[in-house]
Symmetry: C2
Subunit: 305 residues, 2 copies
């Protein structure tokens, strides 16, 4: 029941631009693809042919320039599995010209899905997760992405099957969280007959953006929020001007969303000390971690009480 | 009197695509710019804002995809010094679209110089070197580049000045390698009055290409020849089909050119053992080195005897 985020670039400690790998039960999704992403995937020992979907937030080079090389490497290694690419308008035009001038032919089907950066959309309905886009406020059209685990059918507790002599028909109802009322008036409560129910987990990637209020339901109480914090508070005016966020602002967004945890990244190269980002975010929100390159952040399972 | 080549990518040992830095007396020239070149420049601790000219051999991604990111980083760091970019047709079109879709504005003047891949041209006449293009035989239009040191004025030997009581007018002639015949019939030989004369050095970059005969004068007796050797002899048919070379063929080219030394690179990822490339090249040519990433190869000064 894995839900892991591996920071490939855009964190502290190494100078690689933004890319993240989201692993939901061994299904691999890539968010952004800055230059060097394929080298970072190798360094992280990821079987990267298993990436099935790539989500591009916006077309700034530090989120994009690794994409043609990664697709070229997929082809060189003989990939045949289709790949789905999500991103803003012009991504397809640029990528097609790039592949054309570099005389690159893809060995696999590539499906483009244009994401409208002005509205929140369900962009992918996958077996295990839904992926929603979130309009961000940056200098160019830009979308964040939220990965939300789907609710699964409940699993019946084995001892309850024997205790209550549960029939197959009753199981179907209980798995759907429906109460069963028997002919004799006995009530089977799904809460009592099923295994503890996991709280569906979610991961939000919000980069690059200035801080804003988010009213999308899918973002509320997000399990793990990656929010950019390009600047420290001393450069709050610079952040505003370039449409980025400070660490403190990222903390405020996490607090407003009642997030469970905040992961900070996309630090400007002018700073060498990541601890200060953590401290400044903690002014508004307590559960803060620094995104380190080639580190993996697991979202743990929790259960309804 | 430095003449150094630093292999940034395309050698053995690391999975970085092709890029090389040529340092002639602290003037920095970049050849090709595969993905990750800017990270490799950092790893090599190069002051890379000093790069004044970039030469692109061809538009395959493994020689090209690091270019927009490098130019973007130049700008981010506030470069104002102009940059000259040499490469095949379509390079400008692609780069301009790439900078446009990624909303990148260069902070410095960028001058495009289209290189005709069908003929050998003097593409740069620089203070210390001439750079000539060489038509290569690859699947797409492709040029090699030769860096040839210029002949300098001779330096007069200090003890000769006293011994022969050499006048300023006589020095001017001797520095130009002209014999001086004095009124009394005495002859001053520049060979005897000047410091030992360095042999002008040269570096040739020939990648990607199938083997061919080169009749360009500038290539003959080249001091250091980098020649691609994508394949070993067991895959000679594959080399022919993809218009690459084997190590043995690279050795034969070096022998035909009477090169002083051969540097082998651009090995296919299917091979793990670079020593075998050296052995196979040595069938035809003795002075062979393997290009290792982040290694520097100096061309030593030698003197006319």
């Amino acid at each position: 029941m894995k839900f892991d985020i591996t920071v490939l670039g855009g964190g502290g400690g190494h100078p690689h631009p933004t890319a993240q790998l989201v692993d939901v039960r061994d299904h691999l999704f890539l968010i952004d693809c800055g230059e060097g992403t394929q080298m970072q995937l190798r360094a992280a020992k990821v079987k990267f042919q298993r990436i099935s979907h790539i989500f591009i937030s916006h077309l700034h080079g530090d989120h994009l320039y690794g994409l043609p090389g990664l697709l070229g490497t997929f082809s060189l290694l003989g990939r045949t599995k289709e790949l789905h690419l999500f991103g803003p308008p012009q991504l397809q035009e640029w990528l097609e010209l790039t592949l054309k001038v570099s005389d690159s032919y893809l060995s696999f089907p590539l499906h483009y899905h244009e994401v409208n950066p002005k509205e929140s959309m369900l962009v992918l309905d996958h077996e295990w997760v839904e992926v929603h886009s979130i309009p961000l406020k940056h200098r160019v059209p830009c979308s964040g992405y939220v990965f939300k685990e789907k609710e699964l059918e409940r699993r019946i507790n084995k001892s309850a099957i024997h205790r209550y002599n549960i029939s197959l028909e009753e199981m179907v109802m209980l798995k759907k969280r429906l109460k069963v009322v028997r002919a004799d008036g006995e009530v089977l409560d799904p809460y009592l007959c099923c295994e503890p129910e996991e709280i569906t987990r979610s991961y939000a990637f919000l980069s690059d953006t200035q801080p804003q209020c988010y009213d999308q339901a899918v973002l509320q109480e997000v399990s793990l929020l990656y929010h950019e914090s390009t600047f420290l508070e001393e450069h709050v005016e610079r952040a505003k001007h370039t449409r980025h966020s400070t660490a403190q602002q990222a903390g405020e967004v996490a607090a407003a969303l009642r997030a469970k945890k905040l992961l900070l990244g996309h630090f400007s190269a002018r700073y060498a000390d990541w601890d200060e980002f953590k401290k400044q975010a903690e002014v508004a929100f307590k559960e803060v971690e620094i995104a380190h390159e080639l580190s993996t952040y697991s979202i743990p399972l929790t259960y309804r009480t």
